[in-house]
């Protein structure tokens, strides 16, 4: 194949892949709405996505807030605006860092696990076995995982925000000597509940992406252990990139609304 043929083949394969992903997610989303409703599977996945990710997300939130406080103090201190530290860091945490870092951490932990689990089920014919028993494997396997991620990633994001704000407050007021009065006053003045809600909404979308990509890659894994490994890597990379790209476009849409609100 010459380079042009290779490029053409890559474009065709990419479009086919996108088409396959769209069909898969449409089927999985429809599977969340229509019966049968498998609440036991949903709760099991919610426990896996939410409860088991809580400690890593809180740890990430705490240290992100703390390091951000140190860096911001250094920057704001140069032109005597340390009082803005609390509001600035909290806005950054709730609007951007919370949703993005929570989703990336959950993607690394949960998206990869979903791809690996479904990939292993595919290559060991367990998915065929589900289908052979007249059960829709997409609805059985993917729908509860995606629904659980949509529900739990925003809650994890809220926990990230909370712990991050506690981290920045502690470092700023107890360690860096920032005056607590203006610190909390401006935080309250500048940060609205809509900032938190907006971040949680974004993380619900990111939860949908990371779970659907993980399930899709695993569901169509091929070729034994190597194929499962490749599916897992592709899932984590693809959803990580998708989260960052989609975040940009959501922010473009949401930013004018925030300006109007102000």
């Amino acid at each position: 194949m010459n380079p042009i043929e290779r490029l053409g083949a890559w474009v065709i394969a990419s479009i086919e892949d996108l088409g396959g992903y769209t069909r898969f997610t449409a089927r999985a989303t429809w599977g969340m709405i229509r019966p049968p409703y498998r609440f036991r599977l949903l709760f099991k996945q919610m426990e896996f996505v939410g409860n088991q990710s809580l400690s890593i997300v809180m740890l990430t939130g705490a240290f992100t807030g703390m390091v951000f406080a140190v860096q911001s103090d250094f920057a704001f201190g140069r032109f005597g605006a340390r009082g803005l530290l609390g509001s600035t860091v909290t806005l950054a945490l709730t609007r951007e860092l919370g949703p993005i870092l929570t989703s990336l951490m959950v993607n690394g932990r949960v998206g990869s696990a979903m791809a690996a689990e479904l990939g292993t089920m595919r290559v060991t014919e367990q998915i065929d076995a589900i289908e052979s028993m007249s059960v829709d494997p997409v609805q059985y396997l993917a729908s509860p995982r995606i629904a659980a991620s949509i529900l739990m990633v925003p809650i994890l994001c809220a926990m990230f925000d909370l712990v991050g704000v506690i981290g920045v407050s502690y470092v700023a007021t107890q360690m860096l000597g920032v005056n607590p009065g203006p610190f909390y006053n401006r935080m309250e003045w500048f940060v609205d509940p809509d900032d938190i809600w907006g971040g949680m909404m974004k993380s619900a979308i990111f939860g949908y992406i990371l779970a659907s990509v993980g399930c899709y890659r695993g569901f169509y894994a091929r070729g034994g252990a190597e194929g499962v490994g490749q599916a897992t890597t592709r899932a984590v990379v693809a959803s990580g990139v998708a989260i960052l790209v989609i975040d940009y476009f959501i922010t473009l849409i949401l930013a004018p609304m925030s300006v109007n609100r102000a």
Partner: protein, 250 residues
């Protein structure tokens, strides 16, 4: 009371043509064994019967009903009439033996847990595995997994039972045990039609009512175990005797 008829089935993966116009009748109430070398499309044939793969052309009839091009929703109803035992058992490794066997009942019936347990215990007892009920699949041997898979396939009393190389990877004693289980299941289940994919000739001759040999994407021989023993068909003879020389190229 339905036969399965496969008419002119063709299936290719890319440029590789696996089935090239396969014709076969799987008679009602009997065990039909399809033999042939690995990679000749035997498992593809089973997956087409279950609708897990769709043929490129040709037709599959159950009785007089052509199921070949049924939409997925309709095919799901057809699958309710089948039970399948996969090559490596395909037990769900996130579930216990009990949960594996109970799976079809939980998905398709509104039975109470107590009734499900009774039926699962009975089904596992019929394959001699009542003691393994609370074990995880990784805690039991390959032969036991196959028997659990048989119990799972039988629990909803299917009309058609499909086995994909049920004795592959088992020791001779466990092979004989699984063969006996297939024969016993057939003899004690009125109205059951079994289709077994195998390349184990000893097992085939022991259990089969009808044997069909698959070669180069077509059925080239059909008959009883005695017909296989006495035939002078060169391909069948080479396969049965396991000779390197002959029309089957290694």
């Amino acid at each position: 009371m339905s036969d399965i008829r496969l008419v002119g089935l063709r299936k290719a993966f890319g440029k590789q043509e696996v089935l090239r116009g396969l014709d076969l009748v799987v008679p009602f109430g009997k065990i039909t064994v399809i033999i042939g070398r690995s990679g000749t499309g035997k498992s593809v044939l089973l997956k087409q019967l279950m609708g897990l793969l769709r043929p490129d052309s040709g037709s599959i009839f159950i009785g007089d009903t052509d199921i070949t091009r049924l939409p997925e929703g309709e095919f799901r109803k057809v699958r309710n009439r089948f039970g399948m035992v996969f090559q490596n058992a395909a037990l769900f490794d996130s579930m216990t033996v009990y949960e594996n066997v109970a799976f079809p009942l939980r998905e398709h019936t509104r039975l109470r847990e107590r009734e499900i347990r009774e039926r699962v215990v009975a089904s596992l007892a019929s394959v001699g595995l009542a003691d393994a009920i609370d074990k995880d699949p990784h805690q039991i041997s390959g032969g036991m997994k196959k028997r659990v898979a048989v119990a799972r396939a039988l629990i909803r009393k299917p009309e058609f039972l499909l086995f994909d190389e049920p004795t592959t990877g088992l020791d001779p004693i466990m092979t004989a045990h699984v063969d006996e289980l297939i024969r016993h299941t057939q003899d004690t289940s009125p109205g059951l039609t079994s289709l077994v994919i195998s390349h184990d000739m000893e097992a085939t001759l022991r259990i089969a009512d009808k044997i069909a040999m698959l070669f180069e994407g077509r059925v080239i021989f059909e008959g009883t175990a005695d017909d296989v023993r006495s035939t002078d068909h060169p391909v069948v003879r080479q396969f049965v005797e396991g000779r390197l020389e002959g029309p089957i190229k290694v």
